[in-house]
Symmetry: C2
Subunit: 218 residues, 2 copies
């Protein structure tokens, strides 16, 4: 059995190759990439329309989360042998690092693959569509944003419930538990909760307005 | 190791007690209960308001699925030892029988418990609220129906994806595979797909109508 830095220690990962990049390099590249994506998503839509502040933030979020779902999570779903990667592929490095917070990624836990597969294949492209829908004020903008946000929240529920049921012992240390397993996922609970609540209210308001205009014309 | 009728044969269920009711009795009680619930849900709302045909069917569905989520699935989630039941408890009998189509129920698979837990605790009460919302034409009726239906569809995705990833060998025979694992769940794919598509369209129409009335008043 190869040695690996993950918990539980008896997790069998034949052919495991340790990270070739440092934690700082991996997080630095992620941070720099995120800043570029956010900046472009903040500036570009202003050239074509006049989005409000909230709309600008929503476009940023949907572009950011859509790219993460498709590229980073998509790589994980379709690369079962990422922990054997010897070439220093950046996406493999990310998942080798994140597995320190949740070894179920290296261990190919089926609930994790199911949640990540749905995120990569369905929620990723839908998020990019949501960014476009917000930028162009489509009538389906709120219902699409609600749909994706609910999917992200449902995914987080399955992700945490299955971990707890299986003993919640998948982090290499309390640091990785809180920084990666809790911290890195927190945005995908807080932001989808805010967006689904906003879209829910806007949808209800639209129906109320429709009822009012109906009763006026009668 | 006790013998049990489930697949795979090496599934360890210490203290397993076989079904005391026959398949016909279990399904007969379920069928009779469903007919009573459907009949009441079809007739009662007509005493208080005048629901359309579609609304009547929706009220039936939401009452039916809400009670199943809360009572049948709720029992499963909170009864880890149902397969040891000796008293012939009907709810234990149901799950002993259904486990012939998917032994992950008797085996307490964590993805199955997560999906069933979300159904029992969140989707169940929300479905009863949806029946009430349809009956009383609440402005949140469509967004609530969409939310629950998407949850049911997401749950089915996780349910089937995790089964496939783990080898899809949890049915005692092809008969139980198609009758229970595929057949019994089919309604929770087809009906939520129909309802979410209907609610999605109605929400979009409401936003379109709002846009129109705004442009008229300007």
């Amino acid at each position: 059995m190869e040695t690996h830095p993950y918990s539980p220690k008896d997790l069998n990962l034949p052919g495991f190759v340790p990270n070739s990049m440092s934690q700082m390099t991996i997080l630095g590249i992620f941070g720099a990439g995120s800043i570029i994506v956010f900046s472009l998503a903040l500036i570009l839509p202003g050239w074509f329309s006049k989005p409000t502040k909230t709309e600008r933030l929503l476009i940023c979020w949907w572009t950011f989360t859509g790219l993460i779902h498709m590229i980073i999570e998509g790589y994980f779903v379709f690369s079962p042998a990422f922990y054997k990667d010897k070439k220093g592929c950046y996406l493999a490095e990310i998942w080798k690092e994140y597995s320190k917070g949740d070894s179920r990624y290296a261990g190919r836990d089926s609930a994790v693959i199911a949640v990540e597969g749905i995120a990569a294949v369905l929620e990723g492209p839908a998020s990019i569509l949501a960014a476009y829908a917000v930028a162009t004020c489509k009538p389906y903008s709120d219902v699409l944003q609600l749909t994706i946000s609910l999917g992200q929240l449902y995914g987080c529920l399955v992700y945490y419930i299955t971990a707890i049921l299986e003993g919640d012992n998948f982090a290499a240390s309390p640091y990785f538990y809180y920084a990666y397993y809790v911290g890195a996922n927190a945005s995908w609970i807080v932001i989808p909760a805010l967006i689904s609540s906003r879209s829910w209210k806007r949808i209800c308001q639209s129906f109320k307005a429709q009822d009012k205009s109906k009763s006026k014309t009668q």
